[in-house]
């Protein structure tokens, strides 16, 4: 049994313990330990990506042992890790972004030790969510990730950090409670029907998605459970109208945390739907699909329109995330091969581009100490390299071909048209609005005559380039050769899609 | 001859009680720390007397004697240390008035 997933998950935790043992003034040591303990999972997740067997239907790199076992209550919680085509790219994404986040926070001065310790704990939580194959374990990691995020926003954030952190925390906790209830529903269902599902397996996600088991999850009750889980995940995605924590959290969070937030945390909602809701409750998913499509549509158009009205650069980028995540929802609702691929690939591509965007916003905020779009202007003179990279990121975000977001969004649209024509057509207007706000913003920030007050602004430095260039390279590479990522996803997604499709036919 | 009947144990105990009471009085009433130490010595002597008396009358071996010896020994030590302290107090406060030493007053 390979322990690569455990290593990926817990090396950051180990790093955190090491950091906690270091004296607080040894800042360089703390940073180096952080680099090391994020670089190692990154290297491991790259090897995971390379060793991944594309054609395989099941879980790979599985680790399994009992964690908690109470025979009297027929309760068994497993320590079960494994990845398939849905989660492996996200593990890689988390590895990349966590590694870059360390560099993006290199110049943090306040509470360096606590900051990096929390960052590493956060990585453990995120990796755990993507790797775990046990509902309970999933839930534990889900909550583990919440706490460091709360402190990272609440301590190292902007002026309204307390408000944002508490809002984020409470909102997510609200979702978690619903998730917990859903989890209990499975357990008690198993207790009542031990012949279908052994209660000892009630938290095993692979077992729950088994064709024989999931067939028993029918009827109104499971629709309610689905909705509960959906709300739990929708808060993370975030789906309108549960999205308002996002702009606040993004605006207040420090740059690296915004990167993690947009790059990884938002993906957890979609990942949860793809891993839990759709394969386990396909019948309810088929029932809910039109609502999901409608919500995705609202996300796309509403997010884009609100983004256009923003005056704060970071808030605009935050709302653009709302808009882009809508494509994931539409794709999952449409439930065709192309749309599912698009939705899953959108998670990865949006992770890359939104991370880039937030890093770029961080760069300019470090220099100008404000983010008001209309107060900038003519920055292309002072910061040509920065302008070039921003152009790349903006163009990627507004879906320019040759860059990765185009592939995912095009796949979603190509796939959804058959299922939801009107929805798809209206969603496609999102790409106009996307072009609208990004280019308008670009015009106001970078074009026009050079302003005196920014004349001394230095261009991006080496450290910032180090965080931006790998992302930019990936954005281009996956735009030119998307198969590198798509081929890993396709079979696993087909499983999910088949589950829902058969439920749709059956219903 | 047996003097046991001649001098009953109670005699010794009476003397011992008197010494103890006087020691207590000295300890409580005297302001002078050195005088208080004398009270302590009285109390210790009364205790010793009891030890030896009981050893002679009721126990019938030398254990009481040995205790008395140890007490004397400790008294010597105590006297030495206490005197050191008294001198220290005197140096610090210019006086050895125990009433003035109320640093623990609540």
């Amino acid at each position: 049994m390979s322990h690569i997933l455990s290593l990926i998950t817990f090396i950051p935790l180990l790093g955190m313990l090491v950091i906690l043992c270091l004296p607080r003034h040894q800042k360089d040591w703390i940073r180096f330990v952080s680099v090391f303990s994020t670089a190692l999972p990154l290297a491991l997740s790259i090897s995971l990506f390379l060793d991944f067997e594309n054609g395989s239907k099941g879980m790979q790199f599985v680790e399994n042992c009992d964690w908690i076992r109470i025979p009297d209550y027929k309760l068994r919680i497993q320590y079960k890790l494994g990845v398939d085509g849905v989660s492996m790219p996200l593990v890689l994404l988390t590895g990349i972004l966590s590694f870059l986040a360390v560099f993006a926070s290199w110049e943090t001065t306040k509470g360096v030790k606590a900051y990096f310790a929390l960052l590493l704990l956060l990585e453990t939580g995120m990796m755990g969510v993507f790797c775990s194959l046990d509902f309970f374990l999933f839930y534990v990691f889900w909550e583990v990730m919440l706490l460091p995020m709360y402190f990272l926003i609440g301590i190292w954030g902007g002026p309204r950090k307390e408000y944002a952190a508490i809002k984020f925390f409470l909102y997510t906790l609200f979702g978690s409670v619903l998730l917990l209830l859903a989890m209990l529903a499975f357990y008690f269902h198993a207790k009542e029907n031990p012949n279908v599902l052994d209660p000892m397996d009630a938290f095993d996600l692979v077992r729950l998605a088994d064709a024989n088991v999931r067939l028993t999850f029918t009827g109104l009750f499971w629709q309610v459970v689905f909705v509960a889980m959906f709300i739990g995940f929708a808060i993370k995605v975030p789906v309108f109208p549960f999205h308002t924590w996002l702009p606040d959290a993004h605006v207040e969070a420090p740059t690296a945390i915004s990167v993690i937030l947009a790059g990884v945390l938002l993906k957890m909602g979609v990942y949860g739907l793809l891993r839990l809701s759709l394969p386990i409750l396909p019948e309810a998913a088929a029932w809910f699909a039109p609502f999901m499509a409608a919500l995705g549509l609202i996300n796309i158009v509403y997010g884009a329109l609100v983004a256009m009205a923003q005056t704060d650069l970071k808030k605009m980028v935050a709302y653009s995330s709302v808009s882009h995540m809508g494509f994931c929802l539409v794709g999952m609702a449409a439930n065709t091969e192309a749309a599912m691929m698009g939705a899953a690939f959108q998670m990865f591509t949006h992770g890359l581009t939104s991370a880039m965007l937030f890093l770029l916003v961080g760069v300019i905020y470090d220099r100008a100490h404000h983010r008001v779009i209309k107060d900038f202007g003519g920055l292309a003179f002072q910061m040509p390299v920065y302008t070039g990279i921003t152009t790349l990121a903006f163009m990627a975000s507004l879906g320019l071909p040759g860059l990765c977001n185009f592939v995912s969004e095009a796949l979603v649209l190509l796939g959804s048209f058959d299922a939801y024509r009107t929805t798809t057509i209206i969603s496609a207007t999102g790409i106009i609005f996307g072009a609208g706000y990004f280019l308008w913003c670009f015009q106001r920030v970078f074009m026009g005559p050079a302003k005196e007050r920014y004349s001394m602004m230095p261009d991006v430095n080496g450290r910032e380039l180090f965080t931006l260039v790998p992302l930019g390279a990936l954005v281009v590479f996956l735009g030119v050769w998307p198969r590198a990522m798509l081929d890993t996803m396709t079979v696993s997604l087909k499983n999910v899609q088949d589950a829902v499709a058969s439920a749709t036919r059956g219903g | 001859m047996s003097l046991l009947d001649a001098y009953p144990l109670q005699h010794y105990l009476l003397v011992s009680a008197a010494l103890f009471a006087l020691g207590i009085f000295t300890l409580v009433a005297r302001k002078n720390a050195v005088a208080m130490l004398m009270g302590v010595e009285l109390i210790l002597n009364s205790a010793n007397l009891n030890f030896v008396a009981f050893s002679r009358y009721t126990v019938g071996n030398f254990s009481g004697h040995l205790f008395a010896i140890f007490v004397i020994l400790l008294a010597a030590a105590e006297a030495a240390v206490a005197l050191g302290i008294v001198i220290g107090i005197f140096q610090n406060y210019g006086d050895v008035d125990a009433d003035a030493l109320d640093g623990l007053k609540g």
């Binding site: - | 010494l19 103890f20 009285l42 009721t58 030398f62």
Partner: protein
Amino acid sequence: MTTLTSALYHAAFYADMVLTVGSACVVAFSKNIVRSAFSLLLTFVGVAGLYGFLEADFLVATQLLIYVGGILVLLLFAVMLTHRISNIKASNETSFSALAALAATGIFLVLVEVGTKTHWDVKGGPLGESTRPIGLLLMGDYLLPFEVAAMILLAALIGAAYLARNAIRK
């Protein structure tokens, strides 16, 4: 034993008791600390006498040597070190006399009550010459307490020296 010797013996015994208690009274009540100190000498001697009547010959010697020869001298030194010679007479005031009297009377009465009312199981007899058995015991059964006591003495000496040295330095 003759009547005369017996009478003298009795007289000596009671005189010794009176001496002991009386001199202790002087210690307790005297206004002069030097007088108290010297009365204490008499008390110690009286107690030594009582030890004699209790046939504890080794203790008599110990009492005289250590108390009279050691502790008392220390006390006298203390008296002299803490008082200017000219001021000696006025240096032994009392406070809380009533409280002290109450406490002392109370405990005295209790002790007397206990001592007299209790039925003591008097079964022992004369123990004979005591020096040798005590020596054997100290080197035998009581070796550990003996050694500990030695350590305490040493520590006390060092401590006393340290305290006194500090005080003098100031």
